[in-house]
Symmetry: C2
Subunit: 394 residues, 2 copies
């Protein structure tokens, strides 16, 4: 049942498979689920061997997986994740780095690394991931896939290993915009005929300014296509405040929440973690109440400006990542600075709870890089319809 | 050659063995070496699988090991260490916890855990360890052994994996005070006939006050024997300053030095570490220059007082640890507070560079606990002679 896996996308320690219902909206499609999703009778591994060893088999299948199976899709396996979903590159110290089929010398992106690779390698039609700080969008960009982070809270985060509750979302990846939308129809009720159309495109000047010039250049033709589709276009900064400040506030909130999520388990288990992940937890532990309150206030203020940030039916476009996938196996110090640059782009959706879709519209020296569309919370259908319209302009 | 090992003292991944010379001061004795000591042709593992995997076999045997072999002792194996020598309990997340032969439900102490267990189980006559913050003295106390931390710098720390250079020492453990001294004779030139005699015993009131009452009570008969041996006795605080301040300054210095020691390797390798050890590195990274300078100043001031702290030929006695070995497998939070209490006693020798010997003189509900004797830097011979004299009073 499990497809051949020369790309190390799938968890060899789990044999979870769920046959799809014989009929339904997704009949005939196959999918994979990141190893954060519970499958009844199997231990959810979360990318860490001590997590795997210290948890019992799941008593229930995560509702989102069950919905897909009930709609006819077959789950063929669980996929590698960055350790405890903490990472953006897909380099797992315990289970290895899944191979990016589009750029084998480069990281696949993470933390939904195995899900992205399973889709990009053609092993499945789509795959479930999670996105807390960018974990669906980044691998979508690096592997040349469609990837959606829905509005925060739109899908119940149930039967899934949490990281930071106020940012955690369930998302999915596909090579085909139609499949992306069909999954959305099952999970969040998307109907193309009823989807609102955007009336204004904002090209986020501040986000493009934080991206590498070659990446901006590679994305330009796709931005042009978006301009034509939407009609009314403005090029200006998305925020009056530097996106680096958005990022730093999200890092404070997310890392503190992640520490709280895992603190008891860490205390009981003293687990083996890669240094990078352990350091992130220690930093979260060190976010004091004053920093936390300042970051919370910042987020409340930004959310209070949502109507102002998205007047009419605004769609914002920005690079999903400021560059294509970096090389695998670089030192921590190099990767840390790259991660900070990515987070300055991905933090917008995290901070506001916005939906965002990464579109596989460009390549740079053979390495994919995504263009994202993002809109106000609740605008998932508008983005899905726009993603399909973009696909049809190719 | 390797003795049977039902106590998990020895590293199964290393087969290093060195036959002793046919004659010499240690002929017929067997010993083990903590897996921080280089043995030619073998990779030194340092208690971490990623260290093992990222280092080549040693080109030379550590001089201290070679000296012992040249003196006739046979090295029968390498022993487990706390990960990268960072720990006081002997609980290694990667290789398991060596079993304390005297108290199997309790930790053996660390970081020279396997060396202590190899000796306490009778597998070898003595074993080499290292002591940076207490790593020979603590397992000596918990396993009921003699254990010496010599004067800092007395033995060159060569061919041994460093932790924090200004605290690192090479020490050894034995069940027999005579063997302890014979090894000293080979390594640092001890001659019992020329050893000075202490003229004053200071019972360190502040150190006893930090120990559990039942432990203090259990140690009392041994303190009495020491009183008789030395003659002149005073009971007063060792320091005018709280020992917790000595400890906190040593933690700042040691953890920062340890970070510097391992930073490049961590950057290149992003190793898997237990959370506890990773957190210690992150804390070391966070010791800023001001805290470092304050801690250095504190240490300089204390070292300037050495003549005042050890008038005449003073020997200080104090509990090696404030309690016998705690239970194995407790949560991090419990162990962290126990560790802090131990360090308030072990930091004296670390801060001053003093020699210290733990004597196996007491038990509490079947669990060993050691009494320590400590003197001014350079007084190793005086302490070794006193340890032998104490043994002869039994």
């Amino acid at each position: 049942m499990r497809p051949p896996d020369s790309f190390n996308a799938f968890c060899s320690q789990s044999t979870a498979v769920l046959m799809g219902a014989s009929a339904g909206a997704l009949a005939g499609l196959s999918f994979a689920a990141k190893d954060l999703f519970d499958i009844v009778g199997h231990v959810t591994g979360a990318g860490n061997p001590d997590w795997l060893a210290s948890h019992p088999p799941a008593a229930q299948t995560a509702p989102v997986v069950q919905k897909l199976v009930d709609a006819g899709a077959t789950m063929v396996g669980k996929t590698h994740t960055d350790e405890l979903s903490r990472g953006l590159f897909g380099e797992n110290a315990h289970y290895g780095t899944p191979v990016n089929p589009k750029a084998p010398d480069c990281v696949p992106g993470g933390s939904s690394s195995g899900s992205a690779v399973a889709v990009a390698s053609g092993a499945v039609n789509f795959a479930l991931g999670t996105d807390t700080g960018g974990s669906v969008r980044v691998p979508a960009s690096f592997c040349g896939l469609y990837g959606i982070r829905p509005t925060h809270g739109r899908l119940a985060f149930e039967g899934v290993v949490r990281q930071a509750a106020s940012f955690d979302t369930i998302g999915w990846l596909a090579t085909d915009a139609g499949v992306l939308a069909r999954v959305a129809a099952v999970l969040i009720g998307f109907n193309a005929d009823q989807a609102p159309r955007p009336t204004r495109l904002l090209v986020a000047q501040d986000a493009f300014a934080l991206s590498e010039p070659a990446t901006v250049k590679a994305l330009t033709p796709a931005v042009e296509r978006l301009r034509h589709l939407v009609g009314r276009v403005e090029t200006q900064p998305f925020s009056k405040l530097p996106l680096s400040e958005w990022r730093d506030r999200q890092i404070a909130l997310q890392s503190r929440e992640a520490w709280v999520t895992f603190a008891d388990w860490i205390d009981q288990t003293n687990p083996r973690l890669s240094f990078e992940v352990a350091a992130a937890f220690v930093r979260g532990m060190g976010v004091d109440d004053a920093a936390l309150e300042a970051a919370n206030r910042f987020r409340r203020e930004r959310r209070a400006e949502i109507d102002e940030l998205f007047p009419d039916a605004t769609v914002v476009c920005l690079p999903t990542t400021p560059f294509p996938a970096p090389l695998r196996g670089q030192p921590r110090s190099s990767m840390a600075s790259l991660r900070a640059r990515i987070l300055a782009l991905t933090c917008i959706a995290g901070t506001l709870g916005c939906p965002q879709i990464s579109l596989p519209v460009a390549e740079l020296n053979g390495r994919p890089v995504g263009l994202s569309i993002l809109a106000a919370p609740g605008s998932d259908a508008m983005l899905l319809a726009l993603a399909r319209a973009m696909a049809s302009t190719l």
